[in-house]
Amino acid sequence: MIEAVLKPGGDAATALYIVAFSLFIIGIKQGTHPTTAKRGNLIAAAGMAVAVVTTLLLDGMGNWGLIVLGLGIGTAIGVIASIRVQMTEMPQMVALYNGVGGGAVALIAWSEIRHGISLGEDFPLDSLIPVIFAGIVGSVSFWGSNIAFAKLQDLIPTRPIAAPGQQVINAVLLLAIIVISVVLAVDHESPSQGLFILLLVLAAILGNLVVLPIGGADMPVVISLLNAFTGLSAAAAGFALDNVALIVAGTLVGSSGTILTMEMATAMNRSVSNILFSGFGGAPSGGGGGSTEERPHVSIGAQDAAIKLAYADSVVIVPGYGLAVAQAQHAIKEVADELEKRGVTVNYAIHPVAGRMPGHMNVLLAEADVPYENLKEMEEINPEMPRTDVAVVVGANDVTNPAAKNDPDSPIAGMPIIEVNEAQQVIVIKRSLSPGFAGIDNDLFYEPNTSMLFADAKAAAAEIAAEIGNL
């Protein structure tokens, strides 16, 4: 079918794989600035094209009908999904991609075991061990990501679901996985396929059980961690298949996921193990509100808010996930446009966990045409807060709670926050005084310079924009 064929594992194929992973690295490097990132993505995609075409040209490739079938189905799903997905749904989409990526690795590992057994020779340990590792991590990622997807998509409750004695069950599962892996490796002359399938099943159960108890607020960490896992599993598959492109690309993905996991955990002031093994995130959010006594607060309407904003010199908007839920991004942008027309400086303060995945809020605001120069990171905006006339908190709660800084006994003590309480005035747009994910009262609401605007974020923002226009 194709004239020029490459020898599998030969120098020409390897050289082309090196070209491919170099293009990945160049592509990610271009992704360090918003103006060059789009080109970087195309460069990385070109690298992928080189890698895929190289593989298709390998000598001895056959079964073209099945290859075309697999490529066709995957491409169709990928195209439709990427066009139809809403930006608010990006966390689900990434969770799903993590899942299918992990699933692909687990399946490849399984067929490598079958292939090795069918040859009837001694299975070399330097490919058997990576195959076992890839199978376990791939299976955990696939099932864990599916649960994360189902939670984000509200197919199953986002509140933690935990069985009694779950830690013990998880520990037993992990132990069983390790024991079976060792048995497989020791028996490398003729590893049992049945045991390997059992390994995949146990890893699947573990993936389900580890993610099920994790609450909605911790999803940014879980998605990042599963992203890192899938990367590691791909690198392991690269060791098994002696393929440099897989090793390098998998490692890049693994590094990225690891960096993002650490950043998310730091932003929540919690360790990764704490998130994975305790159901804190989102646990008490339902019932915790009842116990709080009524504390004095100031309540204002949209017109008062409009006046405060219109006569300010500098305004900082602090968006949280509630803004995305209310689909209020565009309405908030209108408020900012009206203010800018009056010469007010408007910036956005983005907490690292403002959305449901790393950088999510930035994408939601970019979709509403907010220029990226106005999106300020927490470290950048906090020193500006005392010089800010009005800070507007929309749909954010725990990430603005001054108790994190002032009250060492608070459950969120030490969590980095956006210090809106340092601003001259604060307007909080919120439906009620109810607590956020952490289930604790927000001291910010009762500060003398805070005004509460009780309303739906989208409706309130639209009203404020109209009022400013009329001034």
């Binding site: 997905v85 490849i108 060791f239 490692t251």
Partner: protein
Amino acid sequence: MSLMTEITIFVLAVFVGFEVISKVPTTLHTPLMSQTNAIHGIVMLGGLIVVGFANDGVEYVIGTIAIAFGAINIVGGFMVTDRMLGMFSRKPRPKAEADAKKGAG
């Protein structure tokens, strides 16, 4: 390739990965994740090799599913990243034009 060569490549790739990715700003972390999803689709090569050299029914099935999964990652990942980055590189409307629009309305 010897195991030690592969480990050398792996360790160097860890350093390169951390170096390059730690420079990606927070603003671009969501596109970074969808892009790394796409790059992870490189595992499709494994699926292609499985199917391309398979002569057994089970391998046909699992290999084809692996190819489909990988293709979802590659195509969906790069396309959705491109869509998102388009929102960032969109030029902010010049002030004058926005004002003119308001004057007309």
